[in-house]
């Protein structure tokens, strides 16, 4: 049921009307009781009841499972059955482009985004809350047990020279992924794997490439952009290179490779645990 009559379909409006009628009857009965008994007690009951109802509405937990069902029925056409994207963008990200917070996400679901995303005019408040819960669950990292020590992990981070390739809290070199809020995006088990066996846990859409020019110069780095005719590469120094693909002698796509070294054998098992704990604690700035 929706409290906003203007948005409701006919059955919704009728439903609202029935609810309003029930509330009116209830209030009328109570008023009659107040008059009949002449005591203020029933008024207190009303206030308490109203307060309880309000509290109940506020604390009602949205049901992500119900949201999943609605998502599959109404949203999967464009966003993919599991929210990984398709015709529309992926939604399994902490930061959604059009929804800074849950209220904004509700707005997007109700109002759509012209010209491609339709309005969810037929969802009631509970539906929207459930959808929000499901969409947010797509980017929630399930907590792993983290045995390491965060403070010691910070020292391991510094000692291992991670900031030579990564930025964390604004410090470091931006060649590899920004680690500022990595704990929000990645589970501890994933972080553990990246540190020990980097090629086994590459980020989505990550590609290392090696371009060779007719002059014999080679540029190896991370692909930042590619269209049907050109490619842009960022090298380890952070410098960007742009090539026309038909002008290169060779363009090797190093699928499954990464410039990140394995720290297995370099760091002890305890140090890796500590580093994982430190990274998992990086939740970004509020």
């Amino acid at each position: 049921m929706t409290p906003c009559l203007a948005r409701g379909t006919l059955p919704d409006i009728l439903q609202n009307f029935r609810v309003l009628r029930r509330v009116t009857i209830l209030l009328a009965k109570m008023l009659r009781l107040i008059v009949a008994v002449g005591l203020l007690l029933p008024l207190a009951v009303i206030v308490t009841l109203a307060g309880q109802a309000k509290t109940k509405k506020q604390t009602a937990t949205a049901d992500a499972a119900a949201g999943k069902k609605l998502f599959e029925e109404h949203c999967a056409l464009c966003h993919g059955i599991d929210g990984r994207g398709g015709r529309g963008p992926s939604l399994n990200r902490v930061h959604l482009t059009h929804a800074a917070d849950d209220e904004a996400l509700k707005g997007v679901i109700m109002d759509g985004i012209a010209p491609n995303m339709p309005q969810g005019w037929y969802f009631d408040d509970d539906d929207v809350a459930n959808l929000v819960a499901f969409v947010r669950s797509l980017s929630k990292v399930r907590p792993d047990p983290i045995p390491g020590d965060v403070t010691r992990g910070a020292s391991v981070y510094v000692k291992s020279g991670c900031s030579g390739c990564h930025i964390l809290d604004g410090a470091g070199t931006g060649y590899g992924p920004d680690l500022t809020a990595i704990g929000e995006r990645r589970r501890a088990s994933f972080l553990q794997q990246v540190i020990s066996k980097p090629p086994a846990a590459l980020p989505e859409d990550f590609l290392l490439v090696k371009a060779t020019t007719p002059a014999g110069e080679t540029v190896q780095g991370i692909r930042v952009n590619e269209d049907s005719f050109t490619i842009q590469i960022k090298d380890p120094s952070g410098r960007y290179h742009s090539f026309r693909k038909d002008e290169l002698t060779e363009l090797k796509k190093l699928r499954g490779e990464t410039p990140m070294p394995s720290f297995e054998g370099i760091l002890s098992a305890t140090e890796i645990q500590d580093l994982v704990a430190y990274l998992a604690s990086q939740r970004g700035k509020p």
Partner: protein, 526 residues
């Protein structure tokens, strides 16, 4: 002298009566290649320009001449150019531009009702059509509107369908002799599809062809129970017309709900078919169903391509199409008889076509609860954007989407005016999929050459007598290929995703190429 004067006078009167673009001009489009007077330039759906000032030798010198910013994102408009005026559309919007500069001459718009909802597609318009002294535009809220070609003033509007039930229009209408043919979107909203023709002068409906036969009509038995009432089968891409046979050819979309075939057992006629309709009455002459009982959303949403060629030593009137289901088909356009067909893209759902052209379906290709990996994906190996036939090379050019996905089946309830699809898909990752422009031998479908694209495209193909093929990439490249070899000769980064069809025309006799890229319409030339 009197006779000459009389003839002149009657000529003047007849022009005045018929207006600027009598149907004969469109039929004889090849006589004035500097204009682009119907969606595909000719009624045969070729999207081929006989202009040859821009050639394989000089195409590298193409430069932007002017650009126009649309009021809307993601333009899919295919412009018309008539007598040095360009006509374009957007959602519930149309404009006339000075073709020399891109400056706006007039514009028209119709407010989209607040309770309008597009169901399963974006707010787009794929272009206008012109006949006599009027421009015709199909609107999102499902009205066909006739505008005065000179001023943009509204002459009449006719309600085609009820948008509250999910009927909508994104199609460029097709002008035939005295009538405007127009189809509807809504295949994801549980509509019952149809194709309409309206009297071009008055806006009165001349005929309606239901793409799902009603009870008692042949074909209704191909729908289980009441499923025909909400079976989809929309008609959302412009068709073709043979003025000699007086037949309208049109593609019909997917059955609904898209991914759950259990609730609509049967072949589901005439979904995923080409239909040939008599222009005068809308009566069905023949149909050919590409994908019986589709469960992958593979609309036959393509402009049919009509050409004549010798088959086994006999000159035949043909109709061809690269279908969303990854097979290329050649049929006889007088009878609908299947002549040739084969896959033109990766597909994993059929082992081939039987002698009648019916797909031999592989087991386990239907969507399931846990997902079924099938190539192509739901948007198909190609979709609404233009295919092109060049009479110069005898080749058929198609923008190919090499992409598979996991199809999922879910429960769905029909609720009027809401999405009715029963599932979804999960596309393969971007580096596992790609795009192509393919040149096929038009009579057989044999691949002559392939030009590879970074990602599956959403842009149509234009071929020209200058030996060129133009198209756009999803990453924003607009480019020209050698029509005989597929070699890339020129490209330009437009800065926006291209999901539109190119056209070619002349300005003061100089050849131009136009394409929409997101919000911008670019016009190229020397």
């Amino acid at each position: 002298m009197k006779i000459i004067f009389g003839t002149l006078l009657s000529a003047v009167f007849s022009v005045a009566a018929l207006g600027q673009v009598p149907f004969e001009r469109i039929v004889n489009a090849d006589k004035e290649p500097g204009n682009w007077m119907t969606y595909s330039r000719d009624l045969s759906g070729h999207r081929f320009s006989p202009l040859k000032e821009i050639t394989t030798e000089n195409v590298g010198n193409l430069k932007v001449q002017w650009a126009f910013q649309f009021p809307n994102d993601a333009s899919e408009t295919s412009p018309l150019v008539v007598d040095e005026v360009m006509y374009i559309t957007g959602p519930n919007w149309a404009a006339a531009l000075d073709v020399h500069t891109g400056r706006r001459l007039w514009s028209w718009n119709r407010a989209i009702p607040k309770d309008y909802h597009s169901i399963g597609f974006g707010l787009v318009s794929r272009g206008p059509t012109v006949l006599d002294d009027k421009l015709y535009v199909a609107t999102m809220d499902c009205y066909l509107v006739a505008l005065d070609l000179k001023s943009g003033a509204e002459i009449w509007s006719s309600k085609v369908g009820d948008y509250k039930l999910g009927y909508s229009m994104t199609v460029a209408p097709l002008a035939i002799d005295g009538k405007i043919v127009v189809g509807v979107s809504g295949g994801e909203a549980g509509i019952r599809g149809f194709l309409d023709a309206y009297d071009a002068k008055t806006g009165k409906r001349a005929w309606r062809f239901w793409t799902i036969p009603g009870p008692g009509e042949p074909g209704n038995e191909t729908w289980d129970g009441d499923s025909w009432k909400t079976g989809g089968a929309p008609t959302w891409v412009t068709g073709a017309y043979d003025p000699e046979l007086k037949l309208v050819y049109w593609g019909v979309g997917n059955p609904g709900p898209d991914w759950d075939g259990e609730v609509r057992k049967g072949d589901n006629l005439y979904s995923c078919s080409f239909v040939a309709l008599e222009a005068e009455t809308g009566k069905l002459r023949w149909y050919f169903q590409f994908t019986p009982h589709d469960t992958h959303d593979w609309d036959a949403a393509h402009t049919p391509v009509l050409f004549n060629a010798k088959i086994d030593g006999r000159e035949r009137k043909l109709i061809a199409s690269a279908n969303r289901n990854a097979f290329y088909y050649v049929l006889d356009r007088e009878t609908g008889e299947f002549i040739a067909g084969q896959p033109y893209a990766k597909e994993t759902w059929a082992s081939g076509l039987d002698p009648k052209g019916k797909p031999i379906k592989l087991p386990d290709s239907d969507p399931k609860e846990k997902g079924t990996l099938v190539w192509p994906n739901m948007n198909g190996a190609t979709v609404w954007f233009s295919q092109s036939y060049s009479p110069e090379t005898g080749l058929f050019y198609v923008a190919v989407r090499e992409i598979g996905s996991r199809y999922f089946k879910r429960e769905s309830r029909y609720k009027p005016g809401t999405l009715f699809v029963a599932g979804g898909e999960d596309e393969l990752p971007p580096d596992d999929v790609w795009g192509e422009i393919r040149a096929l031998e038009a009579t057989t479908g044999d691949t002559k050459w392939i030009f590879k694209l970074q990602s599956p495209p959403w842009a149509g193909v234009l071929s020209t007598a200058g030996g060129l093929v133009f198209s756009g990439s999803d990453e924003g490249n607009f480019y020209a290929l050698d029509a005989r070899t597929g070699k890339a000769l020129w490209d330009f980064q437009t800065g926006g995703t291209i999901a539109a069809n190119p056209i070619s025309f002349t300005v003061n006799g100089k050849q131009r190429i136009a394409i929409s890229a997101n919000r911008v319409l670019y016009v190229f030339g020397f």
